[in-house]
């Protein structure tokens, strides 16, 4: 049988999907395929085009791949465009003069950005935003520009505006209509979006009709508007809508729409049944679809029709959710309420700048459309109501009103979705597909994403997909394994409770009763930590020694070269001149690199193992205690100077900080804990970025909880206000002990609280209202820890047995000759490998 000659014009996103679908169908053999690709690059992800400005390379965006296409047996010609179609002879001609016969022809030519025919629109530095080449051109012009204007305040225009601000330009958006995103939003939503975007520094000009672009005085262009106003700028980006690329269709007399677009039927055939059109160039039912998902559906329909003669395109939902300049915006279905008899519910919160609107049917039963600006969390739920015609709850407004905690969760349970409900529109994944993936062995969100591609497109459905996967797994009785490691079939919380309840005081006892094997670097320190939280025994007792990782074993922080750093406690950051001098003298004597930490202490680096005891002897003689910088434990309580000295101070923050640090020092927990106390709302101690933050008020202390800095900063939540000191301390006692009791291993307080079902509310219930009747017990446990505090370094210096380990070699007094320092900025630093090679006269013998 001779092969069908298939010619494809256009290798954009939809053209690629078309080829992919043929490959997926396993029918490549049937065809002899030639692809013409006008751009010099194979298909790439245009949806994420803007990522090109934030670090993604052209390779990162690529979808088509020359090697893959070759393996599929395709003949792909880049930088070559179909310039004419001869329908009588069934052949195409290209701009390079190639002539080629076809049996079937597919047009996937996409669209081009519409540039209004304003005089001056073709000046230099007037650009568009569609291809990677466009972006290169924009970047080049932006480099010598200060001001940029985007003409068009639609979805793509705002995305382009974001790109210009990222490129460092003063950015303006000029819109003809009276509001932004006129297609998707109503006046209220548009106004809220405008306000938010202006706050981010973009200047928005609506109802502006550009009449002429000519030379500017201070900038390259001057834009002259119909109302007589002018705006000078160096760069102009047109983003005034798209127009289908139907020039080939017109040239060969295929039917096209009045306002452009190649007319197709439900099988994606044009008026010539041997020619298909798919993607943005196609006009179906008088509609152009400017989104990738409907285009991909057309591609699949065209493929099934070519191969099996069946399949049909029945339109597509144009709901969208996106983040524009960090602002969540979503538009669903009939957002403008054009359905006869429809009614609206609107919620506006000017405080947090949120706008939400529901459009419902006359009988209040069905959701027809919605607009969300500033908070689009309900998008997934609302979309499902709309798409599946699910009956609304009795009070539909409960779907967009803020959840104040006392009423029931109003979101749509994933269980209520029908099997056919589409959960991911980018990749057309239904609830049934997700279930099939799980039946096929997927056990995690990651597996399901890999198998179905759900949530890998725009990401708008990620929350919904996660809920669905968890729900399905639960239904199947599959539990996510949260055992701490292979040696204990228990979670950290289980181990904590076993140790408490059974009074277990050693790892070997716990392992014998509840575990197996020898333990590992996960469970040993975790158990050591729990034992310390519960009983607070000296961490280097014989049975505890093998549980501590090197930092806890040597009570110092190991650095990359095997030396240690030392941080003595300086409660509240308050230190006498004498102690400061003592620190300096020790650092000088042992030639330690010295640095001030963020926690208001001093860190001394470069101590060899064998130097730790003599250094600590001198520090303790000068009145210092260990600082637990090495432990998963209370680190510091940072403070400002407070009302004692500060003109603005409201209360004695330094005094309280010292009291708190002395109270909780030595407390070991699932992760490190940091505190801060500020003397007034100016917040100089940055208390809101700490696990426990306290801020003085006129009437007492405000308590913030579960903040942190670091990799994923999070502000603390206000837990209680205007507390007297005794209540404050009681709350902190109970919160910390509840954290120690219920958190996962190495879980900071922020993640812990977010994972408590009910979050902050729940924690307040437990601590303030004592809803679990646990507080007396928690406070008593804290009291025991506080009363059993000891300075671990002081204890160690009194124990000859413990001191034996503080030498590098068991059989020699020499020290490790691999530790070498060089000088930089008048202090030591570890030598790099190349420096070491030069510095060490005798080559060291390193056996590895």
């Amino acid at each position: 049988m001779s092969k069908t000659k298939l010619v494809v014009a256009g290798n954009g996103m939809v053209g690629h999907q078309f080829l992919q679908s043929i490959a997926d169908s396993g029918q490549l053999e049937q065809f002899e395929i030639t692809v013409f690709c006008e751009e010099t690059r194979l298909a790439y992800d245009r949806v994420h085009l803007s990522a090109y400005f934030s670090g993604s390379s052209a390779e990162d965006l690529a979808m088509g791949d020359a090697e893959m296409y070759r393996n599929w047996g395709l003949n792909v010609l880049t930088g070559e465009k179909v310039s004419a179609i001869d329908r009588d002879n069934k052949s195409v001609t290209t701009d390079k003069g190639t002539e080629l016969a076809y049996d079937k022809l597919v047009l996937a030519t996409g669209s081009f950005p519409f540039v209004p025919p304003v005089p001056g629109h073709d000046r230099q530095q007037c650009l568009v935003y569609r291809t990677i080449d466009d972006l290169d051109a924009i970047a080049a012009v932006a480099e010598k520009s200060k001001v940029g204007v985007v003409v068009g305040g639609g979805l793509l225009g705002l995305e382009a505006a974001k790109a210009l601000t990222d490129l460092g330009l003063e950015t303006h958006v000029v819109e003809f209509a009276p509001r932004l995103m006129a297609v998707q939003l109503d006046d209220g939503g548009g106004a809220m979006l405008r306000h938010k975007i202006e706050e981010l520094g973009v200047k928005v000009h609506t109802e502006k009709n550009t009449q002429l672009i000519d030379d500017g005085e201070n900038h390259f262009h001057k834009m002259n508007f119909a109302d007589g106003e002018v705006l000078e700028t160096d760069l102009i980006l047109f983003s005034a809508g798209i127009r289908p690329r139907d020039e080939l269709a017109r040239q060969c007399d295929l039917e096209t729409g009045e306002r452009g677009g190649i007319v197709i039927n439900n099988q994606c055939q044009t008026s010539d049944p041997d020619i298909y059109a798919i993607g943005e160039c196609a006009l179906w039912n008088k509609q152009i679809f400017g989104l990738v998902a409907p285009g991909n559906q057309m591609a699949k329909v065209a493929v099934t029709h070519l191969i099996e003669g069946s399949g049909s395109f029945t339109g597509a939902d144009m709901s969208t959710k996106l983040k524009l300049m960090g602002v969540d915006v979503a538009s669903i279905g009939d957002a403008h309420g054009r359905t006869p008899g429809s009614r609206n519910y609107t919620f506006i919160d000017e405080q947090t700048e949120v706008y939400k609107k529901l459009v419902v049917s006359e009988d209040n039963k069905l959701l027809l459309g919605a607009i969300l600006v500033g908070d689009a969390e309900e998008y997934g739920t609302l979309l499902q109501y709309m798409l599946n015609g699910i009956h609304l709850p009795e009070f539909p407004d409960s779907l967009i009103l803020p959840n104040r905690g006392d009423d029931q969760q109003t979101g749509l349970g994933v269980a209520a979705l029908p099997e056919t409900a589409q959960v991911c529109s980018c990749h057309d994944v239904t609830k049934g597909d997700v279930r099939a993936a799980i039946d096929g062995g997927c056990c995690t969100i990651g597996d399901v994403k890999g198998a179905t591609k759900a949530a890998t497109g725009c990401g708008g459905c990620a929350a919904l997909v996660t809920d669905l996967v968890n729900h399905e797994l639960e239904e199947l009785g599959i539990e996510v394994n949260r055992d701490i490691c292979e040696h204990f079939p228990h979670t950290r919380q289980d181990l904590y409770n076993l140790i408490r309840v059974e009074g277990i005081r050693s790892f070997s006892e716990l392992l014998a009763k509840h575990g197996q094997g020898h333990g590992c670097e996960i469970c040993r320190p975790a158990v050591g930590n729990i034992l310390a939280s519960c009983w607070n025994d000296y961490i280097l007792t014989e049975s505890n020694v093998s549980l501590q990782d090197t930092n806890d074993t040597f009570m110092a922080n190991m650095q990359k070269d095997g030396t240690y750093s030392i941080v003595p406690r300086v409660p509240g950051g308050e230190i006498t001149p004498d102690k400061l001098i003592a620190l300096g003298q020790v650092a000088k004597k042992y030639n330690l690199y010295t640095k001030i930490t963020g926690g208001q202490r001093v860190d001394l680096f470069g101590a060899r193992l064998e130097q730790l005891p003599p250094i600590w002897q001198e520090l303790i003689d000068s009145g210092f205690e260990t600082g637990h910088a090495y432990g998963k434990s209370l680190r510091t309580v940072k403070s400002c100077v407070g009302s004692t000295w500060c003109r603005f101070g409201v209360d004695d923050s330094a005094g309280l900080a010292i009291e708190l640090e002395d109270r909780y020092k030595g407390l070991r927990a699932p992760h490190k804990i940091k505190f801060a106390v500020s003397g007034c709302t100016r917040e100089c101690a940055e208390a809101q970025s700490k696990d426990i933050g306290v801020i003085a008020t006129e009437n007492g202390w405000n308590l913030y909880v579960c903040g942190n800095g670091g990799m994923k900063p999070r502000h603390g939540d206000l837990f209680a206000t205007d507390l007297d000191k005794d209540t404050l301390i009681r709350y902190i006692d109970c919160i910390l002990m509840f954290y120690i009791k219920t958190a996962d291993r190495l879980q900071r307080t922020s993640v812990w609280m977010d994972n408590l079902e009910g979050g902050l509310d729940y924690l307040q219930q437990v601590i303030i209202n004592d809803s679990l009747s646990l507080n007396d017990e928690l406070a008593e446990q804290m009291k025991q820890v506080i009363e059993s505090y000891q300075c671990e370094w002081k204890t160690t210096l009194q124990s000859p047995e413990a001191l034996k380990r503080f030498r590098h070699f068991v059989n020699s007094e020499t020290s490790d000759d691999n530790i070498v320092f060089v000088e930089e900025r008048q202090q030591i630093r570890p030598a790099r490998l190349d420096e070491k090679a030069e510095l060490i006269a005798q080559p060291i013998k390193m056996v590895s």
Binding site: V810, N811, V847
Partner: protein, 111 residues
């Protein structure tokens, strides 16, 4: 290993720390020694961590990975087999190991 290996006394049995490590200097070579009482055994591997080039493996935590007895580097946490020196994360970074035993209260290794 050269052919002239012989059992060399390194330290006393009482110098060992149970379920943990210490370091000895043997013919200019740094050797990490681990004592696992449950196995009634001593293990000797190189002390240099190939990933950080620091001489610190004796300060790692010991434990088991499946059937294998291992130490985890205190620097970047890779696992090394106490018997063979094999690195579990990257075989090409495996390290030396030596047979070790206790004789008359002394720790000896074949080196």
């Amino acid at each position: 290993m050269t052919s002239s290996t012989h059992w060399t006394t390194v330290c006393k049995q009482t110098d060992l720390v149970l379920d943990s490590g210490i370091c000895a200097l043997v013919n200019e070579i740094q050797v990490a020694l681990f004592c696992l009482p449950s196995q009634d055994a001593v293990f000797a591997i190189a002390n240099t961590d190939p990933f950080s080039q620091a001489n610190v493996l004796s300060r790692g935590l010991v434990g088991s990975l499946g059937e294998d007895l291992v130490v985890a580097s205190p620097v970047y946490k890779q696992h090394f087999c106490l018997r063979s020196g094999r690195c579990f994360e990257d075989e090409s970074q495996s390290i030396s190991s030596w047979p070790a035993r206790i004789e008359n209260g002394n720790v000896e290794i074949l080196i």
